[in-house]
């Protein structure tokens, strides 16, 4: 019987099986400041790092985004120093603040070719799913699992079920990968993919570039998925070729052969399948407090009274109360106080180009920050003059880091402030206590910065 991409990757990395779980080999272990407790446990048990050369450390979650500012809390300093110390102790590659290859783990790892098609990857972060865009089985893990991967370079996992999402057709003008994945989450629900790896396929997906594929896989977890994945192809190989950690010569040829062999078999079966038409997708914004609470920007805030299910109704009422939105309010009328362009979802060069294209020649009415995903993205953006587009518009151009996505490095929104954000989570308090997050694409965030309210970026283009 034919095998899916996930089954092929699973079988290729299975070291042993016991009582229905598999001991899976992990090719790449990516760590960040959150690894501190895992290293403490490792030291306590007298264990070492089994494969230092397969372990890569990134200082991103607490990285200050203002040069020379330093850490804003003692905690930030403690965990960042612990990461550097642990990396030094165990001879791990360490991309710290100020390193020429520094940045957000899920931006840098693909960018440097650390993560390659056909690999298994683990990281103590749920958005590790981003790496799935390269045809990688990527697992977000907790501290105990981090300790286990450090010591044993393996993970015990139950075999995953696959939810295959087939997306076909062309995305309309002004409609991006971010809109597409938010549309998918709104369709299947924030818990819609629980227990499943989400595989994205179809003509729309294969037409996407790698950065867009990363945006999509990044948010698979917001649909409840264990992770997200897209089958590697020639686009993937073209992206990977020549990157600092990518194989060369005969090894490159072997990687190409591996990629060809990973194509899902035509008779592979999937636990669930969902079909989405790309033509149905329009620019989206979230209005609520989880990523499924989203709608086309052309529509209105939902009216809880029209919701039959009592539980659903209560959830919407609670979200509207937190977000201070009125039922039936036109989304395009919602005033925005702050903008954040950044995060592992949308802070790569194409994202910054898209935002700059909207902002060029305009002023932002509201304060905001643009945080490039890595030092390399920052250099490229500056070479293209994008930084000046942002600063001319009145936005701040920052250093790389996770920044306002989860707001633990000192970059945050004030209580009650409404933030147009290109990140991946709009939970209560995510961007600061009482902060109200509206998720959207970089172009949409740029449009909101110009008008001071949620705006259909396509109408903005027509006015110019």
């Amino acid at each position: 019987m034919g095998r899916s991409l996930v089954e092929k990757l699973w079988d290729a990395h299975a070291v042993a099986t016991t009582a229905g779980q598999t001991l899976l080999y992990i090719d790449r272990h990516l760590i960040h400041e959150g690894s501190k407790p895992a290293f403490e446990a490792l030291a306590k048990s007298g264990r070492g790092v089994r494969r230092p050369q397969q372990t890569f450390a990134f200082a991103d979650h607490y990285a200050p985004t203002v040069k020379g500012r330093g850490f804003t809390t003692p905690e930030s300093q403690t965990v960042s120093e612990a990461l550097a110390r642990n990396a030094g102790l165990h001879a791990l590659s360490h991309f710290g603040v100020g390193h020429p290859r520094h940045g957000i783990v899920h931006v840098v790892a693909p960018e440097l070719g650390i993560v390659l098609p056909g690999m298994t990857v683990a990281c103590g972060d749920s958005h590790t799913s981003t790496c799935g865009a390269l045809g990688v089985l990527a697992f977000g893990i907790g501290a105990s699992e981090i300790e286990h991967v450090l010591a044993m370079q393996t993970l015990w996992l139950p075999p995953p079920q696959v939810l295959r999402v087939d997306i076909d057709g062309e995305l309309g003008a002004g409609v991006t990968a971010k809109d597409l994945v938010v549309h998918v989450i709104a369709r299947i629900g924030a818990a819609g993919a629980l227990g499943h790896v989400v595989e994205f396929a179809g003509s729309t997906i294969t037409a996407l570039g790698m950065e867009q594929r990363m945006t999509i896989c990044n948010m698979a977890v917001e649909a409840g998925g264990r992770t997200g994945i897209i089958a590697p192809d020639d686009t993937t190989l073209a992206y990977v070729k020549g990157r600092p950690f990518a194989p060369r010569d005969a090894d490159w040829d072997r990687l190409v052969e591996l990629v060809r062999s990973l194509a899902p078999d035509p008779d592979a079966t999937y636990a669930r399948r969902v079909a989405i038409a790309a033509a149905d997708v329009v620019p989206m914004v979230t209005w609520g407090t989880n990523p499924e609470q989203a709608a086309p920007v052309t529509e209105h805030v939902p009216d809880p009274q029209t919701i039959g299910d009592a539980k659903q109704r209560a959830m919407v009422e609670r979200a509207l109360a937190y977000m201070a939105l009125e039922p039936g309010q036109l989304l395009a009328s919602v005033a925005i106080d702050r903008v954040f362009i950044g995060s592992c979802t949308n802070a790569r060069i194409e994202d910054l180009r898209a935002a700059a294209a909207v902002l060029r020649g305009h002023k932002a009415r509201i304060p905001g920050i643009v945080v490039p995903g890595s030092a390399a993205v920052k250099r490229e953006a500056e070479a293209e003059g994008l930084d000046r587009v942002f600063t001319d518009a009145g936005l701040e151009w920052r250093e790389p880091g996770c920044s306002m996505c989860l707001a633990i490095n000192g970059d945050l929104a004030a209580p009650g402030e409404r933030c147009a954000s290109t990140s991946n989570r709009n939970f209560e308090g995510r961007q600061g206590k009482g902060a109200r997050t509206h998720l959207m694409s970089p172009a949409m965030a740029a449009a909101a910065a110009i008008t001071g309210h949620l705006t259909d970026v396509r109408t903005l283009a027509r006015q110019r």
């Binding site: 905690e75 650390i114 690999m119 103590g124 749920s126 590790t128 907790g142 286990h148 044993m152 209560e428």
Partner: protein, 202 residues
């Protein structure tokens, strides 16, 4: 870890869906070493901005000493942080029952000796109602028979994968399981290409 057998204890109902791991353990409390994480648990639900009690269900004396949490849909969604599990464990919970869980959180529970149980939404809702109406009523959870007994006596079966059941039941952690396959890991690495096991940075 202490082997998990039977837990007969008070249970606290928490009828709020989509409680993400950042609500269970707010990021602002960081990752201090060698402290109890109990004070951080569901902090903003339990305490206001001034640190005053909100008189939540957790403060009600009738539930004191509870070891079972009966939650709602998608409990533990969001971030992979295992510290969310530490909060629950340090607070005293050994079991969490919900209609659904965030996947990563679900796996993290087992690593720390907490048994997460999925039961049908209507069963969980009925259980929460019973516990709200009779605070302090006991629920019995038995790992071997894979059953939950509600205060009224109704029995409900749950599923659990064999691996997790074996580890939880004997108090064995992943490392003990892995140790049995140590040479298999060596063999696997020996046949893995060098560009994976010995990457070169340019």
């Amino acid at each position: 870890m202490e082997p998990f057998g039977t837990v007969r204890a008070r249970a606290i109902p928490l009828a709020i869906p989509n409680i993400d791991t950042d609500r269970i353990k707010p990021a602002r409390f960081g990752l201090p070493s060698d402290v109890s994480y109990a004070p951080f648990m569901l902090y903003d639900l339990r305490f206001d901005e001034q640190g005053q009690s909100r008189d939540s269900v957790f403060e009600q004396a009738a539930y004191a000493g509870a070891q079972i949490l009966v939650a709602d849909d998608n409990f533990g969604c969001g971030s992979s942080r295992e510290s969310a599990v530490w909060c629950l464990r340090d607070y005293g919970f050994r079991v969490v029952i919900a209609p659904s869980f965030g996947d990563i959180f679900f796996g993290n529970c087992f690593k720390k000796g907490i048994l997460p149980i999925v039961l049908p939404p209507d069963v969980v809702a009925t259980l929460r109602t019973a516990l709200t109406e009779s605070p302090g009523a006991e629920v019995v959870v038995e790992l071997e028979s894979q059953t939950v007994q509600a205060p009224g006596g109704d029995m409900h079966g749950f599923t659990i994968d064999a691996f997790r059941k074996a580890c939880l039941g004997s108090g064995v952690d992943d490392f003990e399981m892995t140790a049995r396959h140590a040479s298999a890991i060596d063999d696997y690495e020996a046949t893995t290409p060098a560009w994976i096991t010995g990457p070169i940075e340019r």
